[in-house]
């Protein structure tokens, strides 16, 4: 079969290209929602963990009940991080789909939530690393002017953290897009699954699978390009 015939068979006949475009749409939907959820979870968990680390000693003395409550919340965050980072994301997705959200058959939503919860753990650790990397002198100077902990975070720490972690967060996003390719495990037709369905119909693997790979590559290359620009701008503003 000539390349042209292969192309027509795999993509044109029966509008098979739609498997790829619809799949891509699902891949992007899951990625975007997962990323949003991941960032929200990440910020909350990172704030809890670092605030706990930085204030536990004084809180222990001043407010026993508040301290106990905080201790429990912090422990829950630690367990979350350990479990999520200690198990494969495929397993998490399967558990989410077949156990936790067994009542729902909206695969896209379940996958978005599962990937979001997964990515939240990584984002949390990226942010925590960013906050911990800020010199304690910054906290001290801010406190010495009279800013409380929250104000210090908002005006002094977070703007600096964003600068240091933005490249790492973009990398996390790139990883996430590729990770969503396992969504087919729970019956979602994402980009990967779409290509695989075409292969199953046409009994020709070459074109559909290379097309899938090419699409991922284009998206990731674009994001890598953006990442490079961001890094360059950040380096410039350092000077």
């Amino acid at each position: 079969m000539s390349l042209k015939e292969q192309f027509i068979l795999n993509f044109v006949e029966d509008d098979r290209w739609k498997y790829l475009t619809n799949g891509l749409l699902n891949t992007l939907t899951i990625t975007v929602f997962a990323l949003l959820l991941g960032v929200v979870i990440g910020i909350v968990v990172a704030m809890i963990r670092t605030t706990y680390d930085k204030t536990k000693d004084s809180l222990k003395k001043r407010n026993k009940i508040g301290y106990s409550f905080f201790f429990i919340v912090n422990s829950i965050c630690k367990i979350y991080l350990t479990v999520i980072r200690g198990t494969p994301v495929v397993v998490q997705l399967l558990i989410a789909y077949f156990i936790i959200f067994a009542f729902s058959n909206d695969g896209i939503m379940v996958a978005s939530i599962a990937f979001g919860i997964n990515s939240g753990a990584y984002v949390a650790e990226i942010l925590r690393g960013g906050i911990m990397s800020i010199d304690v002198g910054q906290f001290e100077a801010s406190n010495s002017l009279g800013f409380n902990y929250v104000q210090t975070m908002i005006y002094v720490i977070i703007p600096q953290v964003i600068k240091t972690v933005l490249p790492t967060l973009l990398n996390e996003m790139i990883a996430l897009i590729k990770e969503t390719s396992i969504a087919g495990y729970v019956g979602i037709v994402d980009l990967t699954k779409g290509g695989d369905i075409i292969r199953g119909r046409t009994f020709s693997a070459f074109m559909p699978l290379l097309a899938v790979a090419a699409i991922y590559l284009v998206i990731v290359s674009f994001l890598t390009f953006v990442l490079g620009r961001v890094e360059r701008r950040l380096r410039k503003s350092e000077r």
Partner: protein, 246 residues
Amino acid sequence: MSDNVIIKTENLCKFYGEKIHALENVNVEIKKGEVVVVIGPSGSGKSTFLRSLNMIEPATSGKVIFDGVDIMSAKVNINLHRQRMGMVFQHFNLFPHMTILRNMTIAPMKLLKQSKAEAETKAMELLKRVGLDDRAGAYPSQLSGGQKQRVAIVRALCMNPDVMLFDEPTSALDPEMVGEVLSVMKQLAEEGMTMVVVTHEMGFAKEVSNRILFMDEGKILEDGSPEQIFNNPQNERTKDFLRKVL
């Protein structure tokens, strides 16, 4: 307690962990307008003492009475009191993501609710006094060490503090920049600012301070005027220390 005492510590103790006793029953009264220099060997607790005054490093027990209020008490909102105590650090600790002007105006605007114009006018005035008004739009990384430290001093002054605390403000500077920072501090002292200064600059101590505290092993071993301390030290350890540094 007499009216013009601004800071008083009572039996101030500080432990780091179980073993390190960084402050041992420190009792000091600092009066308004006094320029107090704290000297002593490395590890004697000078920084710990200074940092306990605004509770950047809270003491373990005892009292810090600032303008009549025990700020160690759990009921006190320490942030309100810190607004009235400026602090200058060895490593400047300017905010690197803000311009010099923004470094100086953010606290008065957010905490004292000053308008932008009001805060900027005051900041520019102070910058002019330390000869840096032309650098208002620069970022800290674009300044020399001496310039950064002068900015750090005026940043603290923007809050109109009643007391200024200095922890070795010239120790991280190249020798040729020490003078410009000390002269700003001297000017401040002459204007009547209450200052507590941890420093190894004995010249500054002799010339500018009214009072010197000698610390060793977490205790204030000697407390007197510069003439007393430098010309007629009583404690053996003070003598020993001065012999080494002078």
